[in-house]
């Protein structure tokens, strides 16, 4: 197993290098330049030229590429043009926030999706099954930005207006008086702020997982070994949760690996709408401002996480299905 993981990791290196190279040159081809944030007409052209020199943009693209790559390998991500600070500092500050959001959503997608799917499968063709199926389909087909704004409208604005016991904060990751709160206060504050963005990211994806899990479970419960388990007198919940569930999970785990890129790209706009100070916003600002060092580092990091996520999914196969062995 560990040999397999090592092989996969080594195999990922040329892939990631290729991605980094591609991003570098595509970015260079994109029109515009990083000095554009100085778009006041009062800026004399020689100032723009000086900035380009300060940023090293007066060099030809292959020189910049070699320089960037060699620095990158020594762990130097460079300075952000727009923010005037090391890119590494920006990542350290914002990556954990994105991981909190996407990590929570990933767990919720999986747990909620599988739970709903299994519950539906057990009650196949009942009214509850139909209702949940309809609700899943609704969330699955809704555009996420619309869903996000509706959640804010209902659970934040209207909840506040109508005096509901709980009204969620529409934006931010913590309250402004977070530092003055006690432990449980902080935990609650974070949970409150996480609720709407995580729900937005979770609902659509969980709805998809639920439909898969339901179908898969329905297939598995018709297998002979499940009948055997029932025949030997095991209680129904043991049959479902212990014997059938594990086998029905295998295709769902594949989806998990495939969903990771969706989750990260979804995080980009969720962070925007909910004012979540994560890496998605850094990458978008970086692209709009042509902040090359920031875009390079963040897109590389996203690529790394997607590769690792897929590896994790492959490893989880073996956990779920003992027949799968990696040599």
């Amino acid at each position: 197993m560990s040999a397999y993981i090592l092989r996969r990791l080594l195999g990922a290196v040329p892939l990631l290098l290729g991605i980094a190279t591609l991003v570098f040159f595509v970015l260079d081809l994109a029109p515009g330049d990083p000095t554009a944030f100085y778009f006041s007409p009062n800026v004399p052209p020689e100032v723009l030229e000086q900035l380009r020199i300060n940023y090293g943009l007066d060099q030809p693209v292959h020189v910049r590429y070699v320089k960037w790559m060699s620095e990158f390998f020594t762990g130097n991500f460079g300075f952000s043009f727009g923010k005037g600070r090391p890119v590494a500092d920006i990542l350290i500050e914002t990556l954990p926030n994105t991981l909190i959001l996407t990590g929570t959503s990933l767990i919720l997608v999986f747990v909620v999706g599988v739970a709903v799917g299994v519950w539906q499968a057990v009650r196949q063709n009942t009214l509850a099954d139909g209702l949940l199926g309809g609700v899943s389909l609704f969330f699955y087909s809704m555009p996420s930005f619309w869903l996000a704004l509706m959640l804010v409208l209902l659970f934040s604005l209207k909840a506040h207006q109508w005096g509901w016991p709980v009204a969620f904060p529409p934006t931010g990751m913590t309250s402004v008086d977070y530092d003055a709160l006690g432990f449980f206060g902080r935990l609650g504050d974070r949970a409150m702020h996480l609720a709407l963005p995580a729900a937005t990211l979770t609902l659509a994806l969980a709805a998809g997982i639920a439909r898969y899990a339901r179908g898969q479970m329905l297939e598995v419960v018709r297998q002979d070994y499940v009948r055997t388990a029932r025949a030997k007198g095991l209680p129904e919940h043991t049959v479902i949760l212990k014997h059938a569930l594990r086998n029905s999970l295998i295709p769902v785990i594949t989806l998990l690996g495939l969903y990771l890129p969706y989750l990260f790209s979804g995080a980009v706009f969720v962070e925007y709408i909910f004012g979540w100070p994560g890496m998605g916003r850094v990458i978008v600002d970086g692209i709009l401002q042509r902040d090359y060092p920031v875009v390079m580092a963040t897109s590389f990091l996203f690529a790394v996480m997607v590769v690792l996520g897929n590896l994790l999914a492959d490893v989880l196969y073996a956990v779920a299905d003992p027949r799968i062995r990696y040599e």
Binding site: P31, G32, V43, P44, V47, L153, P165
Partner: protein, 534 residues
């Protein structure tokens, strides 16, 4: 054991719910005022900054500029408690003795000179040094509280060159000028203003706290104990924060949000005030048909600017005639903007040789070429709708406009490289100096400079002469006369067609006292912001 775990879980959940349930109003501590804006600040450093809100926070909260503006936009003493203008060649400023850096050191003339010299160093690529201080040649410290600036040439509004805050020499000297933009100081500044810097979390918030030692002569300590400046990029969740009590000031209100703010006048207050942003159509004067002033004037007359203001800005704008805002003391007074008159436009176009020769409703010239051009704009909702309206309006006089809405950077590149027919864009005046902008935008000396601001290749000797005269005139009434003539030539020539000045829109909570806003900026009264008992 089982029971114990369950009890603990229940207790934790109860605590969580209790923490969640509280009224959001009370979450915001009594003396903490929270404002929110859409994009993060750039580094807090006068020398390298070019962002407007960052500049305002520096000028009104963190630092102490040499001079400030009063309600009538006249220069008033600030860090400099008095000055002597030595004719039109130099100025001597006498600094207050009671302003200190937040680390306790006194702010002296050496800091002022250091800031000036750094801004003037080409490697810092400073907007301040290269543009706003272009008419100031050198600084000389006379004593620790007296500084002498000599002018490169006699020029208008000379005192207004000094609306910027000095930086602390003792914390910034030794940094290479080209590296100043990346100095860690810029993200954790030691200031001299009514608020001290506490914390900056990227894309999340900047926290400031009251400076108890701020001199009485400059208004004394600020009203609020703490100011939190939050970053919320999306406008509707930003407004929701205001309505649910999470913030007290919403800096970025959109025209279509004003109705919902006015409906909730019990909770929120709308601030609509004249802005510093003018929108215009830049014609490429070097390309046909825009090399003909009659065509430019006809197109300008065929655009119904008031209709655009009423429909798309919900009335929050005024027609513009030049780069000088109507509220500016040097604005030449009531000059009639070129009237909306499609008949006059049609006559002008026919006189210029553009008539409908094949009966398709569109105009052609003698060679059969249709009067058709591409109107470029960057992708944002307001710009998109404006260019579409302009397209429809110009069709009425037989002009075919192909609208091209593209990403901002791509648009800017085409505009800067002068690869366009016409462009709809905006321009924000950075300060209240009137002469700098006409020079950059319209002076023929800039028409061939690569990447200069005269992207429309405007060459007009009358404008050149007036701009030069306006830059060097030192008498306000003379300046007003020059800018009047300048504006009249603009109406006639329409090298650029100025459409409208937008009103800036912001909103604040009714609980917040001491807020007012005008062209000096959204943060101009931050010193007085305080939460009332309501």
């Amino acid at each position: 054991m089982h029971l114990c775990a369950r009890t603990a879980l229940t207790a934790a959940l109860a605590a969580l719910l209790a923490a969640c349930g509280g009224d959001r109003q009370s979450n915001v501590g009594g003396a903490t005022v929270v404002a929110a804006l859409r994009s993060d600040f750039s580094g807090f450093n006068t020398i390298t900054n070019s962002a407007q809100y960052t500049n305002e926070v520096m000028n009104y909260a963190l630092f102490t500029p040499l001079v400030q503006y009063d309600d009538n936009l006249q220069v008033r003493p600030w860090l400099a408690e008095s000055w002597e203008l030595l004719g039109d060649t130099a100025v001597v400023f006498h600094l207050r003795a009671d302003v200190h850096w937040h680390d306790g050191r006194p702010l002296t003339a050496a800091d002022v000179k250091f800031t000036f010299d750094m801004a003037k160093t080409p490697e810092t690529a400073s907007l301040l040094g290269s543009a706003f201080l272009s008419d100031v040649a050198a600084a000389e410290v006379l004593d620790s509280l007296t500084i002498h600036f000599s002018f490169a040439r006699p020029h208008a509004q000379a005192l207004e060159d000094f609306w910027w805050a000095p930086m602390p020499q003792h914390l910034l000297e030794g940094i290479a000028p080209a590296e100043l933009r990346n100095a860690p100081f810029n993200r954790a500044p030691v200031g001299s203003g009514p608020f001290r810097f506490v914390e900056w979390r990227a894309n999340e918030r900047v926290v400031l706290e009251r400076n108890p030692d701020f001199p009485e002569g400059l208004g004394g300590p600020a009203a609020a104990q703490r100011i939190v400046l939050r970053i919320v990029p999306e406008v509707s969740t930003l407004l929701t924060e205001l309505f649910t009590g999470g913030i007290h000031v919403d800096i970025d209100v959109m025209p279509d949000q004003t109705a919902s703010i006015e409906q909730r006048s019990g909770d929120a207050r709308l601030h609509a005030f004249p802005g510093r942003t003018v929108y215009y159509i830049g014609w490429n004067n070097a390309r046909a048909p825009f090399d003909d002033a009659r065509v430019r004037r006809a197109l300008a007359q065929a655009v119904n600017r008031q209709e655009i203001i009423d429909a798309l800005l919900k009335g929050h704008g005024v027609i513009s005639t030049s780069t000088i805002p109507p509220w500016h003391p040097l604005h030449p007074g009531n000059i009639e903007p070129l009237a909306y008159d499609t008949a006059a436009a049609a006559t002008l176009l026919s006189a210029a040789g553009w008539t409908d020769r094949n009966g398709d409703g569109m105009r052609e010239n003698a060679g059969g070429q249709p009067l058709r051009f591409v109107l470029l704009a960057s992708d944002d909702p307001l710009r998109r709708s404006v260019v579409e309206v302009v397209q429809a309006q110009l069709r009425r006089v037989g002009v075919q406009v192909d609208v091209r809405v593209i990403e901002f950077q791509t648009m800017l590149q085409q505009h800067r490289n002068r690869e366009f027919d016409a462009v709809f864009t905006n321009w924000v005046i950075d300060n209240f100096q009137v002469a700098s902008s006409p020079f950059s935008l319209l002076h023929s000396s800039q028409a061939d400079v690569p990447r200069s601001a005269n992207r429309s290749s405007v060459r007009d000797q009358r404008l050149d002469a007036l701009i030069d005269a306006g830059r060097s005139a030192t008498d306000p009434s003379e300046q007003r006369r020059i800018w009047r003539e300048f504006t009249e030539v603009l109406q006639e020539e329409q090298p650029l067609t100025f459409l409208f000045w937008i009103e800036e829109l912001a909103a604040s909570s009714q609980r917040l006292d001491g807020v007012s806003m005008d062209p000096r900026g959204e943060f101009m009264t931050i010193h007085d912001w305080s939460l009332g008992a309501r």
